[in-house]
């Protein structure tokens, strides 16, 4: 009899549970995500493990909030310390090759061949050389980049860092980490740097 009463209470509790909806936790949502993908080509399942910055920025955007200033600055500082500058101290490669890298969007999709060379796909989001009219607007225009900012050491170093890991300067920037995530090689980044900062590049004409 006593047991039946307890079962009765448990039943009521289940009913009450239905009435008060409890949203899934982030962990539960992430478990669902992890069961929903399979690896293919270069795209392995470890891509679903978020980095600290990916997680912090995802949550902030979902809630429509800024990352708190102290946390943001600490993460930016930590990221800045990880940037690898060119070993030979030379920042600029070939701007013509840089233009090709900026035009190409290939690489790192499951449909791409493993180990093939990646593009930067810069035009997807930025205006760069004035003759290319098919450019996106997710990032700012880079037309006249070097001419406007000057061809000095500070600009070279900042731009290299920005391409290597944008999160060092703007924590939740939508730009990929071209150096840090191994999207472009050091030589390719030099070429893209030249596209932006060689005075002879069409960008600065």
């Amino acid at each position: 009899m006593k047991n039946k009463a307890i079962l009765g209470f448990a039943g009521l509790a289940v009913l009450a549970g239905c009435a008060t909806y409890v949203a899934p936790t982030k962990e539960e949502s992430m478990q669902a995500v992890k069961s929903s993908f399979k690896e293919r080509g270069p795209a392995k399942l470890d891509r679903l493990n978020q980095t600290e910055i990916q997680a912090v920025c995802s949550d902030a955007q979902m809630m429509g909030k800024e990352v708190p200033k102290a946390e943001r600055e600490a993460l930016e500082k930590k990221t800045l310390a990880t940037i690898k500058y060119p070993a030979d101290g030379k920042y600029l490669g070939d701007f013509k090759s840089g233009e090709k890298i900026a035009q190409t969007g290939r690489g790192l999709q499951w449909s791409d061949k493993e180990g093939s060379e990646n593009g930067g796909n810069c035009y997807a989001c930025h205006q760069i050389s004035p003759q290319e009219i098919s450019f996106g607007n997710i990032g700012p225009s880079l037309k006249g980049y070097g001419k406007l900012r000057g061809y000095n050491e500070a600009t070279l170093k900042y731009t290299w860092g920005k391409i290597w890991n944008t999160h060092a300067y703007n924590l939740c920037s939508q730009m990929p980490r071209y150096g840090d995530a191994g999207i472009l090689t050091e030589a390719q980044i030099k070429d893209v740097m030249a596209l932006l900062l060689d005075p002879n590049s069409p960008v600065n004409k």
Binding site: P24, A32, V33, S58, L108, W110, I133, F135, I138, A181
Partner: protein, 272 residues
């Protein structure tokens, strides 16, 4: 017109539009808008709709029955308006299902077909015939044309599907750090010249994103479903391959659908 002839005609239109555009990006965008307008005159998806209707009504599978006893949420056999109210919770399967999940469930449970065989290659390849699921989706969505999107949120599992979908929408990951929201969370954004709908923050964009799929994709000469749309977005997002009918695929469709509630279905649409 055959698929090939159609593609050639459209390619011709693109070329002529490109040749009249000046160097100004504004006129290029106008050209694209004109091209899109010209596409609306005829939609090859009609052929797929017709085949889907036939598939729905034909006795098939080991049990030799039609799908006319399949319950899409509005009662057995009711197709009219059903697509506009999915994903929804189905008690017999004890889960939330989008149209594609549900029709596969019916093919397996009513017609006795093999689930693994149906889901092995869910999207038709270049020059291939549309898959049965694609054809059935085309038919079902046509039967909801003009009807208001009304994705239910009364069952706790429907609410949970929306909430997980929202989390997945904002989840940044992979080597490019992209989430759905990277491209679809701000107004008036473009990749190259392609306009991107702001699905989380702009009602009009959210409406269009949900109500115009499935769609005939001119560049691929094929009808594509909502499951395909998400699968191909994740490819470009540099995520691993989204599994057909997986929990996250359904959760995201719930998220997109609820955000479009009240809008009128307008699919199969035709897109570039």
């Amino acid at each position: 017109m055959s698929r090939q002839t159609w593609a050639t005609t459209v390619a011709g239109i693109i070329l002529s539009v490109a040749s009249v555009s000046s160097h100004a990006q504004g006129s290029a965008a106008e050209g694209i808008a004109r091209y899109r307008e010209m596409l609306q005159d005829g939609n090859p998806a009609e052929l797929t709709v017709a085949r889907g209707e036939e598939l729905w009504k034909t006795k098939r599978g080991p049990k030799n029955v039609s799908l006319e006893q399949c319950d899409l949420g509005l009662g057995a056999g009711v197709v009219k308006g059903a697509y506009a109210q999915m994903p929804r919770y189905f008690a017999d399967a004890d889960q939330v299902m989008d149209f594609e999940s549900r029709v596969v469930w019916c093919m397996v449970n009513l017609q006795g077909m093999d689930r693994a065989a149906i889901t092995k290659s869910p999207y038709s390849g270049t020059g291939q015939r549309q898959t049965d699921v694609e054809a059935l989706a085309a038919f079902a969505v046509e039967m909801s044309r003009g009807m208001p999107v009304s994705i239910p949120q009364s069952h706790p599992k429907e609410k949970a599907s929306f909430d997980r979908g929202r989390q997945a929408f904002y989840m940044r990951g992979g080597p490019f750090d992209f989430s759905c929201a990277t491209c679809h969370g701000v107004n008036s954004q473009r990749i190259r010249l392609q306009d991107l709908p702001n699905i989380s923050g702009n009602k009009q964009d959210a409406d269009r994103a949900f109500t115009t799929w499935p769609a005939y994709r001119v560049s691929q000469g094929a009808l594509r479903t909502m499951q395909w749309r998400l699968y191909d977005c994740f490819r470009q997002q540099r995520f691993p391959e989204l599994i057909f009918l997986s929990p996250t695929s359904v959760d995201l469709i719930t998220f997109l659908g609820v955000n479009a509630n009240g809008a009128k279905m307008d699919a199969p649409a035709i897109k570039r």
